[in-house]
């Protein structure tokens, strides 16, 4: 593995292997001193051209828990605002001495372009509405921890799938790991051609909600201009919000996940988000472990003896 850019094309064995490694890093993170020297002397740059808090901090925590140094980049304070090109920005930071770059960019494909320009590992921290592969790993790990396996589970991904890199990555990872995935959204929030994803599609949440083992709630992306894709937030909540009433109709073992940040009262009611069966903070914790697994896989080779 030279880069970690996409879930597409990874096998069940690939994913299970990374999740097994992540399990070990979960154990590390529970130690009194949650740190191993695996990547001592390595430098990981987090290049977040699109604003992010949790993913960036999670990668930085993961790198530090492996004893790597970190450098970070934010577009607002960078030379990008002085007209520097993406390529020059990347080459400049690489010249300072990086060993890997974590890239988030609002444009689909940007991490692939960067991988063409630098001869070191690139990790996709989210590109456009395309891929967010470490999110798919942390979600898969959370579900696997809870159920032991994803095999045969019914997982519903609910909400703004069209604009969601999480939905794309998760649908591919969950299906590869053996789950039956259903995408639930109004047509304006579905991909134009949903048949390219290994998932069933429905516009009716109430029709399927009682069968689900996992309800994966996506954030309504208000900045996408909600008004042009559905009539109003209240109408969205009425049809697709995971309310207390809908939560009460779930199987008693069913869990609720959300990638964050949440819009309480829109796609998820506060009481549902705070219920013990909503494993949202477990997802956040697991994010550090899976990112350690990926960083170790890409950079840990020469220490792995």
């Amino acid at each position: 593995m030279n880069h970690f850019l996409t879930i597409e094309g990874l096998s069940k064995e690939d994913l299970d292997g990374l999740l097994d490694d992540a399990d070990e890093f979960v154990e590390v993170l529970h130690r009194p001193i949650p740190k191993v020297p695996a990547l001592r002397g390595k430098t990981v740059a987090t290049m977040f051209f699109e604003a992010s808090t949790r993913t960036k901090m999670s990668f930085e925590k993961a790198a530090k828990a492996l004893s790597a140094d970190t450098m970070s980049f934010s577009p607002g304070t960078s030379s990008l605002s002085k007209g520097e090109s993406l390529k020059d920005t990347v080459l400049t930071i690489k010249a300072m001495g990086t060993d890997a770059m974590v890239v988030r960019h609002q444009s689909t494909g940007a991490p692939w372009r960067i991988a063409e320009w630098i001869d070191q590992p690139v990790l996709n921290g989210g590109d456009g509405a395309h891929q967010h592969p470490t999110q798919a790993l942390l979600d898969s790990l959370t579900i696997r921890q809870h159920f032991g396996s994803l095999d045969g589970l019914k997982i519903g991904i609910v909400g703004d799938i069209r604009h969601s890199r999480v939905a794309r990555s998760d649908a591919q990872a969950f299906a590869t790991l053996g789950a039956d995935v259903t995408m639930v959204a109004p047509r304006t929030l579905l991909p134009v051609d949903p048949s390219v994803f290994p998932a069933e599609v429905t516009e009716d949440l109430d029709d399927v909600i009682g069968d689900l083992d996992v309800v994966y709630v996506l954030r309504v992306q208000a900045e996408r201009g909600g008004a042009s894709v559905f009539p109003s937030l209240s109408e969205y909540t009425a049809r697709y919000g995971v309310t207390k009433e809908r939560f009460a109709r779930l199987n008693p073992d069913t869990i609720v996940l959300h990638p964050g940040p949440m819009n309480r009262g829109v796609e998820i009611e506060g009481a549902v988000a705070d219920d013990p069966r909503a494993l949202i903070l477990d997802q956040v914790f697991n994010g550090v472990a899976v990112r350690m697994a990926v960083l170790f896989r890409l950079l840990g080779g020469e220490h792995d003896g």
């Binding site: 444009s107 509405a129 134009v192």
Partner: protein
């Protein structure tokens, strides 16, 4: 000036296709017949010989955008590709919306002297879509093709006025048929690939609704109407229907829409970013079929040079288009099944007729100005370089069948073996 003999080629003549020689003297075709001799003989055995190619749609970027291309480098690329005349689009800076700019373009083309450079004029001032450009001035400067290319003439009322104004003169409106609302935010064909990539798409209907609307305006006004870079199966069907009704309608396809479909965009390499976008496999096949059966009249290269640094960005930030003059004939020959007559019709005769270009696109005839090219339809080769300033080509490293071997512009050899003879002067 020396006499040049094109010897032993398969020549398109008024009496059909013949294996014969052509003698060129004093800029004209002096003789057609077997066994000719002269100062210089170019062996054309096995080559298709016919009129020099004519492009109804290229961007030479001069004036104003010379970091991408200029009239000298664009002309060199054209000559290398077998072209003897090129209609250049008006989306320059300033826009070719007045006689002054049109005259500058034509004059600069003559100074370079490798191909006839014929300006297309804007339909609206500044291509802004609000008021008509100086259509009379443009006409007087020799403009016959009017286009806001890069943008659609979206206001149907304004387009109707332009059509009314130009109908009596015989000018042709060349429409960039992509609806603004349906394409807003889109960067590729709306379909399976855009769905996987999570990118906003441009549905095929974005082209079709404009073509359908415009065809009604053609019925109203009787103006000549040409659809640029047709990209959809629906568009091909509408053009066929309009022609069956006898409307003065023509259509164009680019080499890249014949060669590729939207799967080429899956890797988000910006060299495959086009407007209109590369569409579905079914659309691509309908375009090939339409070109073969003549529903689509011409191949227009939409040669669209961009500087290397402009392409070193993520897909969504990249500009649209590819260069293509040097390889257009080869790409068409590789991906569409045209015989020699259809080849010269779609790449030379029909575009010259639509563009009303004198001395171009004529079946070789004694006494005519010698604008000729010879094409080897069987040789396989791989483009590795370009004489354009730009390098945004998807054809590097691709095996193509067929190659322009000789280009003769106004009696002068301007390219051999895909390489332009004269450098042209720097802009």
């Amino acid at each position: 000036m020396v006499d040049v003999i094109l010897a032993g080629g398969t020549v398109l003549t008024g009496e059909g296709i013949q294996e014969t020689d052509i003698r060129i003297a004093d800029g004209r075709i002096a003789e057609i017949g077997p066994g000719l001799t002269g100062d210089e003989t170019i062996d054309c055995t096995g080559y298709w010989v016919g009129p020099g190619l004519v492009d109804l749609h290229a961007h030479f970027r001069e004036p104003g955008l010379e970091w991408k291309e200029d009239i000298a480098t664009g002309s060199r690329a054209a000559a290398a590709g077998g072209y003897t005349a090129v209609v250049v689009m008006p989306n320059t800076d300033p826009v070719t919306d007045s006689g002054h700019v049109a005259r500058y373009v034509a004059t600069r083309g003559d100074e370079v002297g490798l191909v006839d450079v014929i300006p297309a004029g804007a339909v609206t001032k500044g291509r802004a879509g609000h008021e008509l450009a100086h259509l009379d001035e443009l006409w007087a400067a020799g403009v016959r093709v009017f286009s806001d290319d890069g943008d659609v003439v979206g206001d149907a009322g304004l387009l109707r006025r332009a059509m009314d104004y130009l109908a009596a003169r015989g000018g042709v409106i060349s429409q960039h048929a992509v609806d603004v609302g349906l394409s807003r935010g889109g960067h590729m064909h709306e379909g399976s690939v855009s769905s996987l990539l999570g990118m906003y798409g441009i549905p095929a209907a974005a082209d079709d609704v404009i073509i359908g609307r415009d065809l009604r305006l053609v019925e109203m006004t009787g103006a000549g109407y040409h659809v640029q870079h047709l990209s959809t199966a629906g568009g091909v069907a509408m053009i066929a229907e309009a022609k069956a009704k006898g409307l003065p309608v023509t259509a164009e396809v680019t080499p890249h829409h014949l060669a590729f479909d939207h799967h080429a965009a899956a890797g988000t390499d910006p060299v495959y970013k086009m407007m209109p976008p590369l569409r579905s496999t079914e659309d691509r096949d309908a375009l090939r079929q339409g070109l073969e059966d003549g529903t689509i009249d011409v191949v227009g290269t939409d040669h669209a040079p961009h500087a290397e640094h402009e392409e070193e960005v993520p897909w969504e930030q990249a500009p649209n288009g590819v260069i293509g003059l040097e390889w257009a004939a080869a790409v068409v020959n590789t991906f569409a099944g045209l015989d020699q007559e259809a080849f010269f019709d779609r790449l030379s005769i029909a575009p010259a007729r639509i563009g009303q270009i004198a001395d171009q696109g004529l079946v070789p005839t004694v006494g005519d100005v010698a604008n000729l090219m010879a094409f080897d339809p069987t040789t396989e080769w791989t483009p590795e370089s370009t004489v354009s300033k730009a390098r945004n080509s998807p054809y590097f490293g691709m095996v193509l069948r067929g190659k322009p071997m000789v280009t003769i512009h106004r009696g002068v050899v301007t390219a051999r073996d895909g390489v332009s003879e004269r450098g042209g002067t720097a802009a």
